[in-house]
């Protein structure tokens, strides 16, 4: 049984804004975004009524075929959209949809992704951008079972800081059918991890050479030592250890020396020499992302 939040169940049992939009006034436009199919096991039709003068979403309604979390995600999405400007709405991520429900089980994150995609489809329709030329359809087909391209996989990895192929499956289903593309997904993850690494290196260089970060700079926020240590501990406990635990692994914070975070790999992680380096990079990427880009990780 899934561990759904009360909010998910509440939206499932009492969905807001279900159905199509049948009426519109002068100066309003109604558009629909469709995503998924009955074959995939979930599908969403999102209807938006947009006031053309103010570029504001007046009404949002949905029709969903899917499980409780798909219905709840759709319902929550419509609530998030009402009253938003079109341009703002386009910035909405699947993470925000899930967060508005108090979170979704990891295996059900693809329900929030479906919401975000339907939203994008609806707004592109409104803006007259042909849907079949959208980025996601370009790129190489990675998952043949569910028809997922590398472009889409990359986007969801970046938006949600994913570090494992299993997570990618949970978010966009890729790899969840015959599982023959899991190795390709691993490659993409590695590529993005390397990208993050490089991005941080460049940023760090710029700071140290021309414009060293000072206490008054806002980005990245400068933390006191105590704040930094507390935050590192929190990220390790909340974001990193649960993921390792899924594979029977664990990690302990050993010491923090300036920007060097020393960790001890435990459980299944410790005996697996080949994965230690990959793991180190993944942990480092997460800490850099959520705490400070200057951090480095060392396994002791």
């Amino acid at each position: 049984m899934w561990d759904y939040t009360d909010k998910v169940m509440e939206h499932f049992h009492n969905p807001r804004n279900q159905g199509a939009i049948t009426d519109k006034q002068e100066g309003e436009k109604v558009v629909t975004g469709e995503v998924g199919s009955i074959a995939c096991g979930d599908a969403l039709k999102l209807h938006l009524k947009i006031d053309e003068a103010t570029q504001t979403i007046q009404d949002a309604r949905f029709q969903t075929f899917g499980c409780a979390s798909a219905i709840a995600s759709s319902s929550a999405l419509t609530e998030l959209l009402k009253g938003r400007k079109v341009e703002e709405a386009l910035k909405l991520t699947n993470k925000e949809i899930a967060a508005s429900l108090g979170g979704l089980p990891e295996e059900k994150m693809h329900c929030s992704v479906m919401g975000q995609e339907a939203l994008e489809a609806a707004i592109y329709t409104y803006q007259g951008i042909p849907l079949d030329t959208h980025d996601d359809e370009e790129g190489n087909l990675i998952c043949r079972c569910f028809g997922i391209t590398d472009t889409k996989i990359k986007r969801v990895i970046r938006d949600n800081n994913l570090i494992s192929a299993e997570q990618v499956t949970n978010y966009v289903k890729a790899g969840g059918g015959c599982s023959s593309c899991l190795a390709d997904i691993d490659d993409i993850l590695f590529e993005i991890a390397a990208e993050r690494e490089k991005g941080v290196e460049v940023a760090t260089q710029v700071w140290t050479e021309t414009n060293p970060p000072t206490a008054t700079q806002t980005a990245p926020p400068t933390l006191t030592n105590l704040q930094k240590i507390t935050l590192i501990q929190k990220v390790i406990n909340d974001d990193i250890r649960p993921i390792l635990a899924e594979d029977g692994g664990d990690l302990e914070l050993f010491d923090i020396d300036g920007d060097l975070v020393k960790v001890q790999l435990k459980g299944a992680c410790s005996g697996c020499a080949s994965s230690t380096e990959t793991l180190k990079l993944a942990i480092e990427a997460t800490l850099k992302d959520l705490v400070s880009p200057l951090l480095r990780v060392e396994s002791v």
């Binding site: 169940m9 469709e34 096991g41 592109y124 289903k173």
Partner: protein, 399 residues
């Protein structure tokens, strides 16, 4: 949650109160080890002998043909591996595409160690094709493993007909009868079956106990190696309380066999009323050759998990083969093997009754189900089979 309407008896069953009463002393007073020399432990040998008789009686077998196991999965594994070890020169296995994972995953593993496995397909009724069976059988076939009745659809295979073909080719015949025992009368004396698996918790005994029938004269090698327990066929100190419980449950199941007709009446009432009152519903699999307690119904255009969670609100327990409930992203391998369209696959619900199911419970389901289905269909963008964008070609999704 004690007053729930439990229609998920193919998943597990309630422990019968008589069974519980019979086993409890063996969890408290009589905690001895049956292998001990002293009376306190040694007397349990007699207790186990009685339970073995009770299980043998239900199967129409001899006492010496019963080996106690820990569960159905162990029985399936032990039987298939024993059959292979007994005939090391034979390298083929035949099974079906709709078996339990206890058989399918073992076979997939065996394929990697040099065995060739045929997974017989089934038609839309869930039945195998005898031509395909005969075409697959060779003198090189070590074992044919076929379930008696399917856990998801309840479809019953023509076991003795299959067994006769199997015997012509000199292969051993294993039957996973976990769902059939206690619901269908069995008689090993007149059967072609060499190995038969059963599980306690499907017939009102607790989890953690099962049994394997091994025909007298069939060579057997243990899966669990250890002491001399079970006459060297299964190592490990006996689960005395579990064995007592299984014995009692077997006795009660045998006494209840005639009462299965009542389960069937209630199942038929439930099924018929659903088909009549709720449009766009279909029964999955062969309705004639089927367990008396099971119905698997496809509710088109909606998704199974949403139905289950809605039923759960009323304390009604059922299950679904939809992708979302399994977490595997793919709907059940059984329903897919039947070649059902996606409109039905994702919205399939299994109701499985037991001897405790009452008419009032069935009536209650019939009272709440129509509005649940209506509500979910109102939420769904699909209302008919020919809505263009939902068909299989749109499997390549989005934008």
């Amino acid at each position: 949650m004690n007053d729930c309407i439990y229609l998920d008896n193919n998943a597990t069953t309630k422990i019968d109160e008589e069974v519980l009463a019979a086993m409890l002393p063996y969890l408290s007073t009589y905690y001895g080890n049956p292998s001990s020399m002293h009376t306190f432990g040694g007397q349990l040998g007699r207790t186990i002998r009685q339970a073995r008789q009770q299980v043998a009686s239900l199967l129409g077998a001899e006492d010496s043909e019963i080996v106690f196991t820990s569960c159905g999965t162990e029985g399936d594994n032990a039987a298939i591996l024993a059959a292979l070890q007994a005939q090391p020169q034979k390298k083929r296995i035949i099974t079906t595409a709709v078996e339990h994972p206890a058989v399918l995953n073992l076979c997939r593993k065996l394929e990697k160690t040099g065995y060739s496995v045929t997974y017989l397909s089934v038609n839309s009724q869930g039945q195998i094709d005898f031509d395909e069976l005969e075409a697959s059988l060779t003198g090189d076939t070590a074992v044919v493993s076929v379930m008696y009745a399917n856990n998801e659809t309840g479809v019953v295979f023509p076991i003795e007909q299959i067994g006769q073909v199997v015997k012509e080719y000199g292969a051993l015949f294993h039957v996973d009868a976990v769902q059939a025992v206690g619901k269908i009368p069995l008689d090993m004396k007149t059967s072609t079956i060499d190995f038969l698996t059963l599980s306690g918790h499907k017939l009102h005994a607790p989890k953690g106990i099962g049994a394997l029938y091994v025909r007298k004269g069939v060579r057997f090698r243990p899966l669990v190696m250890g002491g001399h327990q079970e006459r060297g066929r299964r190592g490990g100190t006996e689960n005395v309380a579990g064995i007592v419980a299984l014995g009692k449950a077997a006795e009660l199941a045998q006494a209840h066999l005639a009462g299965v007709a009542e389960e069937q009446r209630l199942r038929d009432k439930l099924e018929q009323a659903i088909l009549e009152t709720i449009p766009n519903t279909v029964v999955n699999g062969d309705r004639t050759h089927r367990l008396p307690n099971t119905t698997n119904i496809g509710f088109k255009y909606i998704e199974g998990e949403a139905i289950l969670l809605s039923l759960d609100q009323y304390g009604i327990c059922a299950s679904s083969g939809s992708a979302c409930t399994s977490g595997s992203l793919e709907p059940s391998h059984v329903l897919r093997a039947l070649g059902l369209p996606y409109t039905i696959l994702h919205g399939s619900i299994r109701f499985s009754l037991s001897r405790y199911t009452t008419e009032a419970e069935v009536d209650r389901v019939l009272e709440v189900l129509p509005s649940i289905i209506t509500r979910l269909r109102e939420l769904s963008p699909f209302t008919s089979d020919d809505a263009g964008w939902l068909q299989e070609q749109s499997l390549v999704i989005s934008h």
